[in-house]
Each structure stands twice: as structure tokens, then as C-alpha cells.
Symmetry: C2
Subunit: 197 residues, 2 copies
């Protein structure tokens, strides 16, 4: 039985490290690279390295950025008296896409997770505190998971005596769902958070 | 609304060129690269380039290989009087995995497809003919699609007067399928190709 060329096997192994990419998909991706022009492969390889070399964290909000401070923190037209606390940079991206938030962000870099040994010192919490001076509103946009709730409660305790208006983004029915298929907890949040018409 | 760092956007665009990888998945893959150490990114970029630099086609069977002739064509323990004709290198890989075939291969590099403007000159057919001298058996392992059938019939006409034993791999029920859910054509092939017990 013949085996794969060594360099192809290495590429398949590399690609199957991607989240959600199994052995079979990695093989399909590798053959795609193999079939396409060398220039395309060079462009992809360059993009992979460039992203590591050019992007780092904003020293203020910890969002990913090619500049420091990032273009959000340095944008004087944004509302610098509001901070939205999120887990990851991808969450910033998602919220920015709505175009409905004009304040600043603070990226925690994860959530507290005692079971996984992730404590407050593993997150960007220390430098959140000095940022809160002069802030009028803090909005939590943390995933509604158990660890997310733990993190929210932990931060709430640190923030609550600072006279800042604190909120969390609404929980309820997502668009397009049938109420009969909504899980109990979602429905509970939807009922408790009902809005006056 | 803040946009993505340029280098990240480029990487997402590059990754979404992969077959079956949409914008959303490409974004997840890009963030994976961003979160992991630079060494990992370098290893992946290197693997992408290496595969293009080290792998080429075997000049005899057109299978992908780091050597020419490939390790199958140059393996004297294999049966050099049998050739299995396949569409792509991935098919060689799949058949090799069964461990049940010990002959040589010939990779066409596709199938005839008049609608897509792919004719005999676009496939590795010309240099198949000289290879058939002294061959005892030709096995077709071409996908049972319309274009596949066209290709098979075309090649059959070229081969048939050479006194070579020609066969195609069996069509019938795949493992694990319920007969009630099998499509008509598959079931037709299964009935017509029934084997004596």
C-alpha cells in the first residue's frame, strides 16, 4: 500500500489542526492547494505569516489591531465614556457589524473558568480598573454560559461601588426561532425581559 | 463602525478560497492562527509552500509524487501488467487504502466534459496509450457520473481492440445503507450486478 508524499502528509496534519477541520476535510484542502498555482500558495502562506507579524493587541482595550492604540480607542468621534466588556476580539467584530454601538471596548481574553484553571490573573482585568475612571456606562456583552455568568458577577462586584451605570445586553428570543422550539432558559429570559409596547 | 485589520481581512479572504470554507469559517480559522504561537503559523505556511515545491506529477502515471517515477510505478513488487484508470490522485489514495489492489495506476486528471469544454486533449489520455503495450488488464475506477460514463465509453473504444481484459469496479449498494433509501439507479446496478452465493 502506497502512502502519501511526506510533504502532503505534513500539510494535511497542519491543516487538521484548524478547529472543526477533520482529517478528511484537511485532505481536501491540501489537494486544493496542490492543484492551484504556486503563486496562490505563496499568497496564502504570506497572509498567514503577515497576520502574526502585523497584528498585536491594543494596549488599552486588548482588541486585535495593527496599530496601538487601535482605531477604536483612538477614534475621538466615539463615545469615550462607555465601555463594552467582551470575551474575545471576535465579539468586538460582531458588535461593530451591527453599527449600533459607538463606545469603547474592553476585551477580557476569555472568561473565568475554575474547572479549567483560568482565574482573574489570566484575563485582562487588572488594567480594566484604571480605565473605568470617568466612565459613565459599562455594558457587559459576555456569552450567557455558566463561566460567562461567573465572570459577569465577579466583575460586577469590582465595579458596583464606582457609581457607573452597568447593564448587560438583552437575553431573549433570537430572530427567526419558533417559540415552541426555544429552550426553557431562553424563554424564561424572554418573558422576564419583556419590553413594554 | 470599525473594520478588521487589513492583514486579517487578507487572511480571511485567502482562507475562504478553500472549497467548502465560507466567510464565517474562514474568520474562525484566521482567528485560530492569530491566537496561536507564531511558530505554528510559520510551520503551516512552510507546509503550504513545501507541498508546491516538492510534489509534482509522476511522468508515467500522473499521480502526485515527490519522486519521478512515483513509488508505485517504481515498485517492482507490484503487478506491472495491470493498470487502474482513475480521475484524480485522491482516487489512487482511496484505492491504496483498501490494500486490495497491487497493480499500477493512470490518473486522467479529470473526465471528459463537453459542457465545460474539457476534451480528450485536456486529460492524460495521449500517454496512456503507449503504456497499454503488454498490459493484461485495465480496470476503470471512474466516478459513476454522466461525464464519468462518457469518459469510460470514450476510452473503452480506444482500448477494446488491443486484446486487453477490461473491467470496471462494481456498482451496487454501499455498506450500511438501507435498501429502502437507496436511489433507483444504485438499486438497478445492485440487482443487475448480483453475485452468485
Amino acid at each position: 500500500m502506497s502512502t502519501l508524499p511526506a510533504s502532503l502528509q505534513i500539510l494535511i496534519d497542519q491543516l487538521s489542526r484548524f478547529p472543526g477541520v477533520g482529517k478528511k476535510s484537511a485532505q481536501r484542502l491540501a489537494f486544493f492547494i496542490l492543484k492551484n498555482p504556486r503563486d496562490d500558495a505563496v499568497a496564502m502562506a504570506k497572509a498567514i505569516i503577515d497576520v502574526k507579524d502585523r497584528i498585536s493587541e491594543c494596549s488599552q482595550c486588548h482588541n486585535i489591531s495593527e496599530d496601538d492604540p487601535c482605531d477604536i480607542c483612538s477614534d475621538l468621534k466615539r463615545d469615550h465614556s462607555t465601555i463594552c466588556i467582551v470575551q474575545e476580539s471576535m465579539d468586538v467584530l460582531a458588535i461593530e457589524k451591527t453599527g449600533r454601538y459607538r463606545g469603547l471596548y474592553h476585551v477580557l481574553g476569555g472568561v473565568l473558568s475554575p474547572l479549567n484553571g483560568i482565574g482573574p490573573n489570566d484575563l485582562n482585568i487588572d488594567d480594566l480598573m484604571p480605565r473605568l475612571d470617568g466612565i459613565k456606562e459599562v455594558i457587559f456583552a459576555i456569552n450567557p454560559t455558566r463561566d460567562g455568568e461567573t465572570t459577569l458577577l465577579y466583575l460586577l462586584k469590582l465595579i458596583k461601588n464606582k457609581g457607573i451605570n452597568v447593564s448587560r445586553i438583552a437575553q431573549g428570543l433570537p430572530m427567526g426561532i419558533d417559540i415552541e422550539f426555544a429552550d426553557e432558559l431562553t424563554l424564561t429570559h424572554a418573558i422576564e425581559g419583556r419590553t413594554q409596547l
